[in-house]
Symmetry: C2
Subunit: 398 residues, 2 copies
């Protein structure tokens, strides 16, 4: 018989995907250049040319049995070493090869990290606004995702709500900074305060609480800022990374987990991840892609378009009277809608071929997300449409 | 806290992997050319040159955002279509795009297939000898793997034991033909008889029983034989394929599930697989590799070395008096050991630097597996060593 749990999921289509499909259909109708599609967080810049060069060089010159052969289940040793060295150099944490586990992107990383430090029934806390896929990522392991309400003042952590939500059952806390959908980067103060609370609760409850840090946007930072590295603030931490956004290769499914060398059982966690892989059908990320990312480990695509787009949109939103927190990174912005019902707001925007995502699925009501990983030329044209939409529909408010 | 279930798994190292590590260590001691390592089923031939050409051409000429961009979670549509057309052409089953779901190799395919048609507590039956990873693949979903004892006469199915094992709880049957470790190909008679039994039991129990057919060795066939295609015999069938062995790209993690168009809910199963992905962290197999395999869909590497090796080994084994069933495909052979205790037998062989895998982990006692995906030159040299080993240790028997 078909598994009823999964069958029931067929009803629940992703709002983001539905909007993106609408945008595509609408584009076929009126020309895609006339649809201002801010729905999908899909990198729009090409990968770094050295990534392509590394792949072509390998394919043309190296032994295909070596390039395309099985990776060890924890990842190719030389690649793990390269990742560890890069993190050590950049963040001053003493990672070594044994602390790195190569994964199929950040989704694969979180799938392993959560299973390693929770058992069914345990609670994992995350903070609104949050990436809605976390529901599937966590709840399908048997653990339970709990969402702390947003701190809408600045989208840092709502500590009162967080402290109330922590309990004996809390096995892990899942953060995402720079954040999808808010674009906010957690400050050092936020990370320090969170770490202090977690350390206290570990003592109080007599068990570990792990910090799982989802960091696919780590390299997309604005204003030349350096984002504080979450694992530097807390020992029991697992950093989950993806090269999807930094190298613009989301389809190649490559990322890693970096186990904090000071964390509980740091020396065996990667091996435990390998055991987890056997049950969920991973085995290893693509070998040739592992080898290629190792050759461009400290490089990124030209990500400057995202900051350019952010500045244009942020300034226009402010000019139009939106309440909005300035993003510190990512390619998202998360303004307050001009009416309480964000879904109604986004539906009205659709009439102007402006595709905005209502915030409800991100765990906050009354906001909307714009993913501005699109051409700047299109962003510029969208601003007039945004202005027209706001002035027509919400004149009284302006 | 670290999950105790996975921590407990750390003790249980794979016998095959241990032997392979021993072979590598021994090779460093006495020179790898002097170790006759038949432990690992790792393809030894290069990938088809057209696969490399397709990748290089794409990397050099096409838009990197398209090549490396997110695949839809069910797979790239054009790739799914190409797979469906190829299967239709080759096996006469009316697959279309909607029946194909691209996966991270056969492991990923089985991870999705089992979850889709079982719920925790359901039983999945497989047949000894069997690939030991099936224990993890099945039991980690919450379903329970049951193993039908081997039919050692010819390694087709032991139907009496099978009929006894089937019950109300049986949700699926998992087969692997051509088979790892026996190299046997299930005959049309075997597949027909199995299908008849399953159809009867479906009626009797009033629920579906799915056939999950694991087919990574589908293209490695000997004596110019055509293997009967399991899904042609039974409607409720999911064919799990990997390009690892046929194209010699096991590290690239690419395969698919083909849903029999006549199976229950055939039109929604691929979408259900997509839902399952969200919970186990897959999302999609690597995009560029999907695109490249589609360009060489009906090609394989030069696989003739495996048949050459099989013939050499089979003839020598017969000459030395071994009881052995002639493989119809794969790169494995599964002879009876010359003493009851296969582990003792393989340990003695180790003293001759012959690395053989005892059968116990494959669910049969008293046999051993040789994986002959190695150079023919080395196979030839190994035969003298095999003869010396047998004549010295088992003289009385010869």
């Amino acid at each position: 018989m078909i598994n009823e749990t999964y069958k029931a999921m067929l009803g629940g289509k992703s709002v983001i995907r539905e909007l993106s499909e609408y945008a595509t259909a609408r584009g076929m109708e009126i020309g895609y250049e006339n649809v201002f599609d801010f729905s999908l967080g899909n990198p729009s810049v090409p990968c770094h040319p050295d990534f392509t060069k590394a792949l072509v060089r390998m394919l043309e010159n190296e032994d295909p049995v070596a390039i395309h052969g099985y990776s060890p289940s924890l990842g190719i040793t030389s690649v793990r070493r390269t990742v560890a060295e890069s993190l050590r150099r950049r963040f001053g944490i003493e990672y070594s090869t044994e602390h790195i586990f190569m994964t199929s992107g950040a989704a694969g990383a979180i799938a392993h990290a959560v299973r390693s430090v929770t058992k069914p029934g345990d609670e994992v806390i995350t903070f609104a606004p949050y990436f809605p896929e976390y529901n599937e990522y966590i709840n399908k392991t048997g653990a339970v995702l709990k969402v702390t309400p947003a701190n809408t003042a600045d989208f840092q952590i709502n500590f009162d709500a967080f402290e109330e939500m922590l309990s004996e059952k809390t096995a892990a806390v899942l953060i995402n900074s720079p954040n999808n959908p808010s674009g906010i980067v957690y400050s050092a103060d936020t990370l320090k305060k969170m770490a202090d609370i977690l350390s206290d609760r570990q003592k109080k409850y007599g068990h570990d609480i792990f910090l799982i840090s989802d960091e696919p946007y780590r390299e997309i930072l604005f204003d030349g800022a350096e984002a504080p590295y979450p694992s530097a603030f807390y020992d029991n931490s697992l950093s989950c990374y993806s090269f999807s956004k930094s190298l613009s290769i989301p389809g190649e499914r490559i990322g890693y987990i970096a186990v904090n060398p000071k964390c509980r059982d740091a020396d065996i966690l990667a091996v435990i991840f390998g055991q987890i892989s056997r049950g969920i059908g991973h085995n290893c990320p693509p070998s040739s892609i592992q080898l290629a990312v190792a050759e461009v480990i400290d490089k990124t695509s030209d990500l400057s378009v995202y900051e350019r787009n952010m500045n244009l949109i942020y300034d226009k939103l402010k000019e139009l009277g939106f309440e909005v927190v300035r993003p510190g990174g990512t390619f998202y912005i998360f303004p307050k809608a001009l009416e309480e019902d964000a879904i109604a707001f986004c539906n009205k925007a659709k009439n102007y071929d402006l595709i905005l995502v209502p915030s409800d699925n991100f765990g906050v009501k009354g906001y909307f997300r714009m993913a501005y990983c699109i051409d700047t030329e299109k962003v510029v044209r969208s601003l007039d449409v945004l202005e027209k939409f706001v002035k027509t529909e919400y004149k009284a408010k302006q």
